[in-house]
Every structure is written in C-alpha cells, then in structure tokens.
C-alpha cells in the first residue's frame, strides 16, 4: 500500500492587488511513496517542494486533486498521530525551555506517566540533553533544527516529513541528521524529505523525484536512474609518454586495449573505476529541460 499518495494535486495562489490572477505553484502532482522508503523530494528554490509539504500537512488547501497518508485523507487530523513534521527553519515559543516545549508536544499525544522520561530520551537522542532547561530563544540555528527533529519523532511516528533537514547545519550537524534518517529507516519508518543538497539525497534515498516550476520532472530509484548506468571507465596512471599522473576515460569495451597501450608505453596503472552519471547531472538535465520548455 502506498503510504503517501498524491493524485493530481494542484495549488494556485492569487497574486496581484486589484485584479487577482491565479499563479500556479503546484501543477497536477502525482506521487506514490511506499512503506519504509527514504524518499527524496528534490527541486531548486521555488519549485513547489514546501507547497507540497504544506498541502500534505493540511496547512494549506489544494485547488484541486487530493492526497492521502496511510490511507487517510490529509484533512483527517487523527492520522497526525502517525506522522511527524519538521518544517524548514522551524519556529517555537521563545520563552519556553526545550524541555517545556517538548513536554507540550508530548501532551498532545496523550503521554502521561512516561512523558518526562520520553522528553529526556528524545532530547538526548538529538544531542540536546544538556540544553533541556535553556529557553528556545537562546538556541542556535543548529540546535533549533535538532530540537525540530526531536518534536517530529517524539511520538514514534510511522511516517516522518522533513523539509530541508540539513539546511543551515555544519558538517557535523549534517552527518548527525543523516545518521538519524538512516536510524529511522532501520526502525521501519518511512521518511519523506525535501532538499536541494544533492549529495545527501544520493547517499540516503531509495527513490528521488525532481520538481521544477511546480511540475514533477522525474521519479525513480537512485539505482535505476544512474547507479546501473555505467558511462565508461576512468583509468588513472603514472608515467608513459610524459612523467606525472594522468587520467583517461574509455568505453567499457575498450578497457583491455587501453591497458595494453599503457603497458607498452611503460606506464604504471594507479586505479581503474566505473564512471556513472551523478544525481547532480540528472537533476540539472531535468531542471534545465523544464526551464527551456
């Protein structure tokens, strides 16, 4: 069963002061996300990624089309017990401490006796155990992002939605978030995250989709899209006709001929690796194609 399903999901905004004309922000999005997938929702700025997430969270309402999560329409608030959401650049109440704010969220799920222990556990899980009594207005950007993750998963949701989870984080912070996402997958949860940081998506995602100018440009598994397409072989060698290190790219069927040529020239083979397309190349191809059309 598709855990997240969007059917012709469309969102128009009215723009202009006197004569308001509709501006299409999302155009007939069709999407399916399966259980226990880590699904990357990619796109440049302004593509409609956040609009899609807001539609799924029922923060805004579609102009047409529909979406379901775990088989329930997105307007069904009861389903929110099973989902968690980390918005981009999350905001919380300034004058509450991390402990108080997380406790507030935990109350909404009906936790009682074990609530305090749960709050402590999840703060520690995101590395904020020492900051429990600090007011949120004193948190750094990275700390706020980690707190946002804690509130998104405190109730052990089946599906987690993350909007730019690594944005604004230093390399350590990004690594921690990536590790957390992999942990969530190992726990059997489904993760849907939007990002424009392609290496993160390449490393973490089972499948990705690319959105540009409100339209879905492509969807597929990372393996199918490029990991199985070997474009060639890159050979790094030393010496030969001129001193120093050199690299050359040859077709898959030309590898042995190349080795023979290099051997005859007296070169030393340093390394030999497959050349595959990157997510970045795939992304740029799709985005620029939409830009041209």
């Amino acid at each position: 069963m598709a855990v997240i399903l969007a059917e012709a999901l469309t969102k128009d905004y009215l723009a202009g002061f006197w004569r308001q004309t509709p501006r299409r922000s999302l155009d007939s999005l069709n999407l399916e996300v399966q259980e226990n997938e880590v699904f990357g929702f990619l796109g440049p700025n302004g593509a409609g990624k956040t609009t899609t997430l807001k539609l799924l969270m029922n923060l805004i309402f579609p102009t047409s089309g529909k979406a379901t999560i775990l088989g329930h329409p997105v307007s069904d608030t009861r389903m929110h017990r099973e989902i968690g959401f980390l918005p981009e650049q999350p905001y919380f109440y300034d004058y509450l401490t991390a402990g108080e704010m997380l406790d507030y969220y935990a109350r909404m799920f009906g936790y009682r006796e074990d609530r305090a222990a749960r709050v402590t556990r999840f703060l520690e899980r995101v590395g904020l155990g020492e900051s429990r009594d600090m007011q949120l207005r004193k948190f750094s950007k990275g700390m706020l992002q980690r707190f946002g993750l804690a509130q998104a998963i405190i109730h052990d949701p089946r599906v987690v939605f993350l909007d730019e989870p690594t944005s604004g984080l230093d390399p350590i912070g990004r690594r921690e978030v990536r590790d957390l996402i992999l942990e969530l997958k190992k726990e059997g949860r489904t993760v849907f995250f939007s990002t424009h940081i392609l290496p993160d998506a390449e490393t973490l995602c089972d499948r990705v989709s690319v959105l540009a100018h409100g339209k879905l440009q492509g969807v597929g598994s990372v393996r199918d899209l490029f990991q199985s397409h070997v474009q060639g072989v890159e050979i790094v060698f030393e010496g030969g006709e001129s001193p120093g290190f050199h690299r050359m790219q040859v077709g898959v069927n030309e590898v042995y001929d190349a080795f023979e040529r290099l051997r005859k020239a007296g070169a030393r083979i340093v390394s030999c690796s497959e050349v595959r397309p990157t997510l970045e190349e795939y992304f740029m191809k799709l985005v620029s194609k939409e830009g041209q059309s």
């Binding site: 969270m57 309402f61 929110h80 918005p87 999350p90 919380f92 969220y105 909404m108 509130q151």
Partner: protein
C-alpha cells in the same frame, strides 16, 4: 487537547513582561485611590471602590486587547503553527485553547488587582464590611466583560493585522459601552428607519454597557441575581458566536 493548549498559552503569556507592568500600574492606581480618598472626607470608601474598579476595568481592557489581537496573528506570522497543527490538533481546538488560556491569564491578573483593592479597603475601613462582597460582584462583571472583549479580539486576530484588530476591537468596545445611548438617540429622532437601525445595532453589537455596575457597587446597591444570570448567559452566547466564527475563518485559511 483544549486544556493542553490553554495551559501553554497561559504559561507563555505570564512570561510576557508587559503584563507585570500593567498589573503594577493598576495596583499603583489603587494605592493612589487611598490617597485621594483621604482628602475626600466622608466618601473614602466610595472613591476607592470607584477608582479601584475603574482601574481594574481599564487595565483589564488593555491586557485583553494587547494580548488578544496578536493571539492568532503572531502564530501565523511566526509559523509556530506549522509544528502545532501537524500534531493531532484540530484548528477549532487550537482556537478554543488559545481563548481559554487568555481568559485564564486575565482572570489571574484580575485576581491580583482585586486583592490589591480589597487590601486598600481593609486599610481604609480598618476591616471589611459585608457590603464589600459587592465589590467581588463588580469584579466578576468586569471579568465577564473581559471574556467578551477577548472573544472579539480573537476573532479579529484570525484575519487582521494587530493594528487593524486593535482598532476594530476598541471600536466595538466603545460602541458597546454607549449602545444604550445609541438606541435612545434613535428613539428621540422619531425617524422609523433610524429607530430600526439603532435598535438593531443595540441588540446585535456587544452591549458592554450592561456590565457596568461600578456606580451601583460603589453606592452599595444590591446587584439583582437575575442580572448576574442574564449577563453570564449573554457572555456565553456571544463568546460562542465569536469562537465559532473564529474557528470557521481560521479553518478556511491557508497558512503562509
């Protein structure tokens, strides 16, 4: 769920320094009443009750408007709603919780100011009189007024900026205080259209004038139980209107 949101709203409001300042000024005004009373021989009690209840009312109105007009707007603008509404919270529950939290805040602050007033009466009269219980009835009516005003401020907060919401709320408050005069004006004019219009306005707009019993309390006139019951019912009905309308507007609204 409503109780959870209400308690959190109260906790957050209490940490806002502006409330302390307002309560402080109200207590200052009550202290001033004691001084003024000492130079008005024979009517110290009257002056203290009049000035004290007026201070509680005025500062209560200020608090209700300042906190109420930004209640929803602030959450929308600062996007604190994103994480809240992704929880199993219905939008109408959020509205109800915010309203209850603010009413709790106003009640606590009003009780502090009332304690100051009772202390002032105790000091001046060297003890409390049975008729001082009437002061509590006066405070109760002020609270009812504030609950009604908060409902209106909350409604404006669902669709207007704080500046516009403040004007709208205060405007309705002023009209509501003078609604009896507006109706009398219509009766005097003898124009049937004007009479219908002013009568309609009297009944439809919030009648804040009906809660003003400060003068009666100051003169130790008893407040009829029927009026207490009537005003409670009025506030319940009118606040229900404001909250249902707020919930409908908020539920239809795309959040930025």
């Amino acid at each position: 769920m409503i109780a959870v949101i209400a308690w959190n709203t109260f906790r957050e409001a209490v940490r806002d320094r502006i409330l302390f300042n307002l309560v402080f000024f109200a207590l200052l005004m009550i202290s001033a009443a004691v001084l003024v009373g000492q130079i008005s021989i024979g009517i110290e009690h009257l002056i203290i009750v009049n000035l004290g209840l007026t201070a509680i009312s005025l500062f209560g109105v200020a608090m209700a408007v300042i906190l109420g007009v930004a209640l929803i707007y602030k959450e929308i603008e600062r996007r604190t709603l994103y994480t809240l509404l992704s929880k199993p919270v219905r939008r109408w529950q959020f509205i109800a919780g915010k309203y209850c939290g603010l009413c709790l805040t106003l009640t606590v602050n009003t009780l502090f100011m009332t304690a100051g007033l009772i202390l002032a009466l105790f000091y001046v009269d060297q003890g409390l009189r049975p008729s001082d219980l009437q002061v509590l009835v006066g405070v109760f009516f002020i609270l009812l007024q504030l609950f009604l005003l908060t409902g209106i401020a909350l409604l404006f907060s669902c669709f207007a900026t704080p500046a516009v919401a403040t004007l709208g709320t205060l405007g309705l408050y002023m009209v509501g205080v003078f609604s009896e005069d507006i109706r009398t004006f219509g009766e005097i004019s003898k124009d049937p259209m004007m009479q219908r219009l002013t009568s309609g306005l009297y009944y439809l707009l919030p009648n804040f004038g009906a809660f003003n019993v400060i003068s009666a309390v100051a003169h130790e006139h008893p407040i009829p139980g029927a009026l207490i019951a009537g005003n409670i019912t009025y506030v319940v009905l009118y606040v229900a209107i404001a909250l249902i309308a707020s919930a409908a507007i908020f539920s239809n609204r795309d959040l930025k």
